[in-house]
Amino acid sequence: MNWKFCVGVLLALAIGAGCRWLGVPVPAPPVLVGALLVVAMTSGYTLTDKLMASRPARNTIHCGGPTGDTRETRS
């Protein structure tokens, strides 16, 4: 597993814990089912993307959340 992803997960855990500790609204669903719905939406998008290789997605950059692309890798 990519070590940068592990650091990201740790940071996300710390952000969630810090938000609860400081009483700040968390920038994610506060219920686990809500967060799993986000994963399900992304999974549906990713699986369909694999099936539709003939028609490239042009709006991925406009999707919610980080794409994982940096300025250097963006075309």
Partner: protein, 52 residues
């Protein structure tokens, strides 16, 4: 439980539909991004349990 499963199926369908119609998805388009959202929620819930 049934409603949660129905929601998951609906979320999968929304994700697939967004890709088929090439509409921007209201979620991170990469699985790593979605897992970060789950990690944030887990951090929130774990510390909620600890601080009670």
């Amino acid at each position: 439980m049934t409603l949660a499963l129905l929601g998951l199926v609906l979320a999968l369908a929304i994700g697939a539909g967004c890709r088929v119609l090439d509409i921007p998805l209201p979620a991170p388009p990469k699985l790593q991004g979605a897992l970060l959202v789950v990690a944030m929620t887990v951090g929130f819930l774990v510390s909620d349990t600890l601080l009670r």
